[in-house]
C-alpha cells in the first residue's frame, strides 16, 4: 500500500532540510518554499479522509517496520477515527500559520520556517504513532521548535516564557516515560512474552481481550503518570500557568499552532492512553478530573473576563474551552468523547482564528490593550465582520461549529454515571461567561465611536489576510451546518473505545 502516513509525516521535515540549502538572506524564497511544502502536505493529507473507511474502527493506513527489535520497539504508524481530523487540522493550520508570518516575522526568517516545518512533522507524528516510544519521541520533539519560536521571535518576557513552557511540559513528559516503561514491562510479565512490546495496538488489544489485566493500584499509578503529562499539556487547572505566558510572548504564528494543535496533543493523549489503557482507573478518577475540568472552565472564563490585553483574554479562554474538552472525555461515553474530539478541531479553528485577529491589529498598532481601540468596525469593516463570526464561533452560536461540540459534551456529561447534571449545571455558567467576555472584547474594540486618532487611519485587511480568514471560515461553517460529515468517520473508532471501556470495567466488577 502507498505509505501515505510516512509521506505526510516526513514531507515537512524534508522541506526543512531543503530550506537549509537556501541562501540565508532571501527571506521571500524561504517563505515561499515553506508555504509550498506545507500546502503540498495539506493536499496530500486530504487523501486521508477520502480514502478512510468510516465503518472500520481499527487502525488504517498502517505501516510497521522494526526499529529496535531487541526491545520490541518499531516504527509503527496508523490512523483511526480519533486521529483522522486532528492530522488534517494540523496540516491545515500550518500553512495558515506560515502565511501569517509573511508580515510579522522579519528576523532570521529561514530558521522560523524550518522550525515550523519540523514542528509539523513532530505534531503529526504524535497523532499517528502507534508505538509508545515513537510517540514519546515525537511528543518531546514538539517542545524544541516551539520553545525556540517563543524564545527567539517572541516579545518582551520571551525567554522566561520559553523556559517555563519547556520545563513544565518536560517535567510532565518524563513521568510519562516512566509510565511507558512500566506499562511495557508489566505487559511482558502478564502475557509471558519473551520480549517487551511497545506497540500501543498490541497492548491495547491485550487489555481488551483480558490477556493483560493490571492490578488496580498499579493501574492507578500508571494512569497518574500519563495523566500528569497530558494535563500539563492541555493545560488543565491547576497546571495551566505556563499557557498565558507562552501565548502572550509567542509570535502570532506560534500562538495559532500552540492553541490550534499543541494543546490537542494533551487531550488526544488522554483518550488514546488514559481512557483506552486504564479504564478502571479512568472510571475511578473521572469525578475528580471532572471537578478539575469544571474549575478550569469557570476559572479560565473568570480570568479571561478580567483581562484588558486581548491576547491574554484569548489565552485564558483556551483554558476554559480545553476544560470542556476534558469534561467530555471523562464523561466516558460515546457522545461525550465524540463531542470532545469535534471540539478539539473546533477549538483549533476558532481560537487559531482569534489569535490571528489579535495578531492583525497588533501588527498595525503594536498594542493589544482593548482600551486603545474602539469603533474599529467603521474603520475596518471587513475585519470587523470576520472577527464577529470568529467570536461567535468561539462562543458556540448554533449554526457554527462550536455549538455542536459543546452540546455533545454537555449531553455526554449529563447522561454519564461518572459525572452527572451537577457538572453540566456549573459548566453552563462557563458558556455564559464565554459569551460575556468575548462579546465584551468585541464591543470595546469594534463598536462605538473611533475615540483615538491613531485608529482612524488603520488599513483594513489585505487580500492575503482575508484569504486566511476565509480559509478558516469554510470548515467553521461546514462543521456547523453538516456536522455528520465530520462525525461519521470518527464514530466507529470512538464507539469501539467506549464499548471496550464498558466491557473492561464491567469485567472488573
Amino acid at each position: 500500500m502507498f505509505p501515505y502516513l510516512s509521506l505526510i509525516l516526513w514531507l515537512p521535515a524534508l522541506g526543512a532540510l531543503a530550506l537549509l540549502a537556501t541562501p540565508r538572506e532571501q527571506h521571500q524564497t524561504a517563505r515561499s518554499i515553506a508555504l509550498a511544502v506545507s500546502l503540498l502536505t495539506f493536499v496530500i493529507s486530504l487523501a486521508l479522509p477520502l480514502r478512510f473507511n468510516a465503518a472500520d474502527p481499527s487502525m488504517q493506513f498502517v505501516e510497521q517496520v522494526a526499529w529496535i527489535p531487541q526491545w520490541g520497539i518499531s516504527y509503527h504508524l496508523g490512523l483511526d477515527g480519533l486521529s483522522l481530523w486532528l492530522v488534517v487540522l494540523t496540516t491545515f493550520l500550518i500553512p495558515i500559520a506560515l502565511f501569517a508570518t509573511w508580515n510579522s516575522i522579519h528576523a532570521q526568517v529561514r530558521y522560523f520556517q524550518i522550525l515550523m516545518l519540523l514542528l509539523e512533522t513532530a505534531m503529526i507524528g504524535v497523532f499517528i504513532a502507534l508505538d509508545t516510544i515513537l510517540f514519546y519521541l515525537f511528543w518531546e520533539f514538539t517542545l524544541i521548535p516551539m520553545a525556540f519560536m517563543i524564545g527567539i521571535w517572541g516579545s518582551g518576557n520571551r525567554i522566561y516564557a520559553a523556559r517555563k513552557f519547556f520545563l513544565y511540559t518536560f517535567a510532565g513528559s518524563v513521568l510519562m516515560l516512566m509510565g511507558i516503561i512500566g506499562l511495557s514491562f508489566l505487559h511482558r510479565d502478564a502475557t509471558g512474552a519473551e520480549l517487551t512490546s511497545f506497540s500501543l495496538t498490541q497492548i491495547m488489544g491485550d487489555i481488551r481481550t483480558g490477556a493483560f489485566a493490571l492490578e488496580f493500584g498499579m493501574e492507578q499509578l500508571l494512569f497518574g503518570l500519563f495523566f500528569i503529562a497530558f494535563a500539563i499539556k492541555v493545560p488543565m487547572w491547576p497546571f495551566h500557568t505556563w499557557l498565558p505566558d507562552a501565548h502572550v510572548q509567542a509570535p502570532t504564528a506560534g500562538s495559532v499552532i500552540l492553541a490550534g494543535v499543541l494543546l490537542k496533543l494533551g487531550t488526544y493523549g488522554l483518550i488514546r492512553f488514559n481512557l483506552s489503557l486504564f479504564p478502571n482507573a479512568s472510571e475511578w478518577a473521572a469525578p475528580a478530573i471532572g471537578i478539575l475540568a469544571v474549575i478550569g472552565i469557570i476559572y479560565g472564563a473568570w480570568i479571561a473576563f478580567a483581562q484588558t490585553d486581548m491576547k491574554k483574554l484569548v489565552a485564558y479562554s483556551s483554558v476554559s474551552h480545553m476544560g470542556f474538552i476534558v469534561l467530555g472525555i471523562f464523561a466516558l461515553n460515546e457522545i461525550g468523547i465524540t463531542g470532545a474530539v469535534l471540539q478539539m478541531v473546533n477549538h483549533g479553528l476558532s481560537t487559531g482564528a482569534l489569535f490571528l485577529i489579535v495578531g492583525y491589529i497588533y501588527e498595525r498598532r503594536h498594542t493589544r490593550e482593548m482600551s486603545e481601540f474602539g469603533g474599529l468596525w467603521t474603520v475596518m469593516p471587513i475585519y470587523g465582520g470576520l472577527a464577529l463570526v470568529m467570536v461567535l464561533s468561539s462562543v458556540g452560536l448554533p449554526g457554527l461549529n462550536g455549538f455542536i461540540g459543546e452540546f455533545a459534551i454537555m449531553q455526554g456529561a449529563f447522561i454519564s454515571p461518572a459525572l452527572g447534571w451537577g457538572y453540566v449545571a456549573v459548566s453552563v455558567i462557563g458558556v455564559v461567561l464565554a459569551a460575556v467576555y468575548l462579546l465584551r472584547m468585541y464591543r470595546e474594540t469594534f463598536m462605538g465611536e473611533v475615540n483615538k486618532p491613531e485608529n482612524a487611519e488603520l488599513k483594513d485587511l489585505s487580500g492575503g489576510e482575508i484569504g486566511m480568514m476565509v480559509a478558516l471560515l469554510v470548515p467553521i461553517v461546514v462543521i456547523g451546518l453538516f456536522p455528520t460529515l465530520f462525525f461519521a468517520p470518527m464514530q466507529a473508532s470512538i464507539s469501539e473505545v467506549a464499548q471496550a471501556f464498558r466491557s473492561v470495567v464491567a469485567e472488573g466488577q
Binding site: I68, A147, F148, G151, I159, F166, A171, I181, F185
Partner: protein, 497 residues
C-alpha cells in the same frame, strides 16, 4: 630435588590490548625524548595512532559473544563486556588527545609526556575493566590515579591546577586507603582475592547454617570499604566534594577525560565486583547504592543549577550522571549491564563534545568559563551553537539524541529489577537537570552577546565536535546497532564460561 615451579598457562591474547597500549606509551616516551624541536604535536599524533592500533588489536582478540578467556591464574579476563568497554575507553582517549593537541601549545604548557600519560591512564582503565582479582583492581585504580595526579596539575602556570592536583592526590590517597583496607578484610574473610572464588565462598558459607558466618561478615565489611573507595573515584554524593574543584583547575581536556573515562572504568570494575563477587550480598548493597544514587542525582543536578561557571556546571552535571549510571550497574541484570554501556557511550559523546566546545571558547590566561560567553553564540557561530545545543539536549535526555535512549535503557533496567522508586527519582532529577542544560541553550540562542568572544577552531576540535554531534544524533535516531553491540557484551560470570 628442588621444588618444581609450575608456571601457569599464559594466554597473551587476554592482555593484548593492555600490552599494546603500555608498550606504545613506553616507546612513545623514548621517541619524544629524542624528538627535535619544541613542537610536540607529532607525539600527539603518534599517540592517536597507538590508540588506533590498540583498537585493532582489541577487535582481533575479541571473543565470541557469551564466551570468555581467562589467564594469569584467572586474574584477568577477556570477555565481550571488557572489549566493548575497551573500545569505548579508546574512543574517549582519542577524543581527549584530539582536543589537547592545539590546546597545550596555545596555553604554553606543551610537553611531550602528556600523551604517553594519557595512554598509561587508558591502559589502567582497560585493566580495571578486565581484572577479576582485587589486587589487579587496585593496581588499575592506582595506575589510573597516579597518571591523573600528574595530568590534573599539568596546567602548572595556574595555581588552581596545582591545587587540583594536590586535592586529587590527597583524596585519592584517602580513597586508596579505604580500598586496600577493604581488600585486606575481604582476603581475611574469604581467603582469596579472586572475584569468582569470593562469590563461590559467599554462596557456600551463606548456605550453611542460619547464623551469619564470621568470614562472610568480614567480606561484608570489606566490601563496604571497597565501595567507599570506589565512590570517591566515581564521585557519588557525599564523596564528590573534590570533583568541581579538580575539574575546574585541571586542563580542560583532562577534565573531559576524567569525567567520562575514569568514571566509566571505575564503574566497570565496580560492576564486576558487585555481580561476580558480591552478588549474594545484593540485599545489602542494593539499598545503599539506591540511596547514594538518589542523593547523587538530586544533589548533582541541584548544585549544577546554581553554577554560573560552565566548567563547574559540567562537573556537577557529571556528578548527576554518575547517579544514573549507578542505577544501571546496581540493577546488575542483563539489561543493567547493557544500559550501563549504552549510557556510558552516549554520555561520553555528549560530554566530550561539550568540553570540546568549552575549549574553543577558552582564552589564553583567563580562568573564567562564564555561561555569559555563550550568550548570543547562535548569531555569530550558528554551527557551534547547534552542536552545543545537541550536547546539552543529549545530556538532559531529550529525544532524538543518544542521551534519551541512555536514560530510557537505564530506567527500563531499573523497572525490570523492581526499583520503581529509583525510576521515579531518576525522572524527577532529569526534570531538574533540564533546567540548567536549557539555560545554556537559551543563552546561546535567545540572548545578545555579553562580550566579544572569538572561538578558536582547529582540526582536532572540529573533528571531535563533528563526530560527537553526528554520533549523538545518529544513535538517537537509530540506536539499533549499538543496542546489538551492548547486548552481546556479556560479563563472564565464571572462569572460561
Amino acid at each position: 630435588m628442588p621444588p618444581e615451579i609450575v608456571i601457569p598457562a599464559i594466554d597473551v591474547r587476554v592482555i593484548a590490548p593492555m600490552l599494546t597500549i603500555f608498550a606504545w606509551a613506553t616507546v612513545l616516551l623514548m621517541v619524544d625524548l629524542f624528538m627535535p624541536g619544541k613542537d610536540r604535536k607529532l607525539t600527539g599524533y603518534l599517540a592517536l595512532a597507538g590508540l588506533a592500533v590498540t583498537a585493532l588489536v582489541t577487535l582481533a582478540v575479541q571473543p565470541a559473544p557469551g564466551t570468555s578467556r581467562t589467564s594469569f591464574s584467572n586474574m584477568v579476563v577477556l570477555d565481550s563486556f571488557g572489549t566493548t568497554l575497551t573500545l569505548i575507553l579508546l574512543l574517549i582517549a582519542a577524543f581527549s588527545i584530539a582536543i589537547s593537541i592545539n590546546y597545550l601549545s596555545y596555553h604554553n604548557i606543551e610537553m611531550g609526556e602528556y600523551y604517553p600519560l594519557i595512554l598509561f591512564a587508558t591502559g589502567g582503565m582497560i585493566l580495571l575493566g578486565q581484572s577479576t582479582n582485587l589486587i589487579l583492581v587496585f593496581l588499575g585504580v592506582e595506575l589510573l590515579s597516579i597518571t591523573l595526579y600528574v595530568l590534573t596539575a599539568f596546567f602548572y602556570p595556574r595555581y588552581t591546577s596545582e591545587e587540583a592536583g594536590l586535592k586529587y592526590l590527597l583524596l585519592g590517597a584517602f580513597a586508596a586507603g579505604f580500598l586496600i583496607y577493604g581488600i585486606a578484610l575481604i582476603y581475611g574473610g574469604a581467603g582469596t582475592l579472586d572475584l569468582f572464588e569470593i562469590g563461590a565462598f559467599l554462596n557456600t558459607s551463606l548456605a550453611v547454617g542460619s547464623a551469619f558466618p564470621p568470614g562472610a561478615l568480614l567480606v561484608l565489611i570489606g566490601g563496604a570499604l571497597v565501595l567507599i573507595g570506589f565512590c570517591f573515584k566515581i564521585s557519588l554524593v557525599p564523596f564528590h566534594m573534590w570533583t568541581p574543584d579538580v575539574y575546574e583547575g585541571s586542563p580542560t581536556p583532562v577534565a573531559a577525560f576524567m569525567s567520562v573515562g575514569t568514571k566509566g572504568a571505575a564503574f566497570a570494575a565496580l560492576l564486576r565486583i558487585l555481580i561476580v563477587a558480591l552478588l549474594p550480598f545484593k540485599i545489602y548493597w542494593l539499598p545503599v547504592l539506591g540511596v547514594l544514587a538518589t542523593l547523587t542525582m538530586l544533589f548533582g543536578n541541584i548544585a549544577a543549577l546554581m553554577q554560573p561557571n560552565m566548567k563547574r556546571m559540567l562537573a556537577y552535571s557529571s556528578v548527576g550522571h554518575a547517579g544514573y549510571i549507578t542505577i544501571g550497574i546496581m540493577t546488575a541484570g542483563t539489561h543493567g549491564t547493557e544500559s550501563f554501556l549504552f549510557y556510558l557511550l552516549a554520555y561520553a559523546l555528549a560530554n566530550m563534545g561539550a568540553f570540546a566546545v568549552l575549549i574553543t571558547l577558552e582564552r589564553r590566561g583567563e580562568m573564567a568559563w562564564s555561561v555569559d560567553d555563550f550568550a548570543g553564540l547562535w548569531k555569530r557561530y550558528p554551527l557551534l551553537a547547534i552542536a552545543m545545543a545537541t550536547f546539552m539536549l543529549s545530556l538532559a535526555g531529550v529525544p532524538p539524541t543518544a542521551g534519551f535512549f541512555g536514560k530510557f535503557f537505564v530506567f527500563a533496567a531499573a523497572w525490570e529489577d523492581g526499583q520503581i522508586f529509583l525510576v521515579f527519582m531518576g525522572v524527577l532529577s532529569s526534570a531538574i537537570a533540564a533546567f540548567f542544560y536549557l539555560r545554556v541553550i537559551m543563552r546561546m540562542f535567545m540572548d545578545e552577546p555579553v562580550r566579544e568572544v572569538i572561538p578558536i577552531f582547529n582540526r582536532g576540535l572540529t573533528i571531535t565536535i563533528g563526530i560527537a554531534v553526528v554520533g549523538t544524533i545518529v544513535f538517537g535516531l537509530l540506536p539499533t546497532p549499538l543496542v546489538s553491540l551492548v547486548q552481546n557484551s556479556v560479563i563472564a560470570l565464571g572462569v572460561g564460561g
